[in-house]
Amino acid sequence: MINVTLRKTRKLISTFFSYVLLATLGILWVLPIVYLVYTAFRVTPSTGIINTLIPTNLRLGFGNFQKLFQDTLFPRWLWNTFVVSITSCAITTLFILVVSYAFSKLRFKLRKPLMNALLVLGMFPGFMSMIAVYFILKAMSLTNSLLALILVYSGSAGLSYYICKGFFDTIPKSMGEAAFLDGASQPMVFWRIILPLTKPIIVYTVLTSFISPWCDFIFVNTIISDRNLYTVSLGLYKMINAERSSFNDNFTVFCAGAMVVGGIIVSVFTSMQRYYVEGVTGGAVKG
């Protein structure tokens, strides 16, 4: 009897400690985000320097957002990013789908060598070639244009076909063969039969390629020097890293901008989350 109650209390204590541990870790993980949101809504002090967590004259409000959309080029950057991400997303998705389909479902002499070549190419660090890309774009007199960004983001999309190909591999070959017997042409099989079956991975590809221009600032930094053509990421980066001083007036405004970008990314993700999870696990089955 005593033994049972002892075991029960021990279990209770262990559960209690599990909750304490989880809660502590959870708070640690959420705290920076809370801090970001708090700073974004914090109007005082008017300079961005955060000296105290809760100043005596604390005021909250949308002042930073107002500043962001009126005093900075943020609306412009937002528009640029939308243009670049939507266009490059379309091209990237097309490239990845087409390459994965060709490597997964078609058989031709150079299939293996080409796949190996892409594997090797993918092992070079991406921005090793950045400087050369810059000069190639310059030779085409394309630098300082959104078109250059679109080309850079989607030009080498063919390299990242792995996950998508894994998904295509899971679709039985017989699907296409049956259609061929009925007299369908290759493009028809690709467009009408295989693509509708791969909706999850298409959503996954669209999502990841749509998001990446929102997060990159290195390529933009090299290619674009005109402030009007910045994307949000470079704009925000420059906003607080432009001067050598560790803090400048823009910190609270930066937090507001970060919240806007975060909000956009979260809403895009949650609206497509169901497909996203399906897409990833579906492709991972093959490994």
Binding site: T15, L119, G287
Partner: protein, 468 residues
Amino acid sequence: MEENKVEKPINETTFKKVRKAFTRGSLPTKLSFIFMGYGQIARGQIVKGLLYVMAQTAFILFLIFFGGKYILQLFSGNLGTRVSGEIWNEQLQIFEKVQGDNSFLILLYGVVSLLLVLFFLLVWVSNVVGNYENDVALARGEHVRSIKDDIEILLNKKFHVLLLSLPFIGLLVFTVMPLVFMVLLAFTNYDYAHMPPGKLFGWVGFRNFITLFAGTGASSGFALVFLRVLIWTFVWAFFATFTNYLLGVLIALLIQKKEIKWKSFWRTLFVLAIAIPQFVTLLLMQKILDGDGILNKLLGTNILWLADQRYLSLIPRLMIILVNIWIGVPYTILMSSGILMNIPTDFYEAAKIDGASAARIFTNITLPYMLHITTPYLITQFVGNINNFNVIWLLTGGGPVDNVNYGGASKAQSTDLLVTWLYRLTTDQNPQFNIASVIGIVIFVISAVISLFTYNRSSAVKGEDTFQ
């Protein structure tokens, strides 16, 4: 039998076709070796023929007016000879500006032109092969292919060509060409002392490799620096990968415990961190950890969390790994929760009957099981961390600088990874593109070796269906 005969010429290798076209081809075919498209036009494939004629004309014009010059200079042994500057003109009694050679453009356009030559060679081969196939068709009493036939072939038998051509052109322009160019830079002396257009640079063979791997001396003591950066890169990659992994799995296990309620709430709490773009969280962390940042204010301390130079910059190094845990653990939680749920429960039941403690169950069952399944994931993470530019660059920028340990010319700083060092060398006010290229090649070799290991390993894993 009949079908076999028709298929036969298709199965020959391209090289064999070209050779046969040369030895046994008809007159139009042989003429097409020099005048591209002649054979096609002579046999009624007017459009195709004209396209080849245009391609040849364009290529010759390109060679004469642009490419030829650069290719010649590329192979002349040095990248340009005339330095631009001002030369005294005796007759006019003035200094005249002279446009010299630009080594950079010679190398860049030389590479572009060479690739175009290769591309033209492919077009030429397709021209010859097309003629040879016409020969074969005519000998059999068949018609030569019309445009309609060609399109039909492109849509069916050669559908892959149609699909792959555009993505591969993109790859060629935005990956292959720049890479060839950068790899070639590793064999030149292109640095701040040889900056075009004012100055020339040229080939130096393996000198940069020697500078990086074995160089000693006041200004070029890169070997020690390289070793330090390399060691830190691996130390960082190891800790970044395994701290994320272990903590992620442990937290996922904790959430998975039977007694814990609101599982999805806890999971979302952690996964929330993924929602914010990485560069934002990193910049935010940089500000929080700044000397004037909120952390110091809260703790009442005055520590330069990301810039303290003491103890070989131990504090910044630790902080980077900690921040990386904050960023990376949510991903591991996401990845591992699914796998953990799939661990067969009889393993656990058997262990419990044997009276194993929770810690032993973790080290003897859970961890080996996870490791077995996620080895490829771990290795790709490891390679990813070797190249983890963002975390280092946005937090410390590679710093703090401690010139005591790092040669000034090397520009390497204490928390630099190979990638951030490469980036600094190319974007610095005194850039050293040559050394940066060598570092890029080193990174490539490291990634390639580890990745190849993964691929062999994962195929081995595929063979093992059961976990023991």
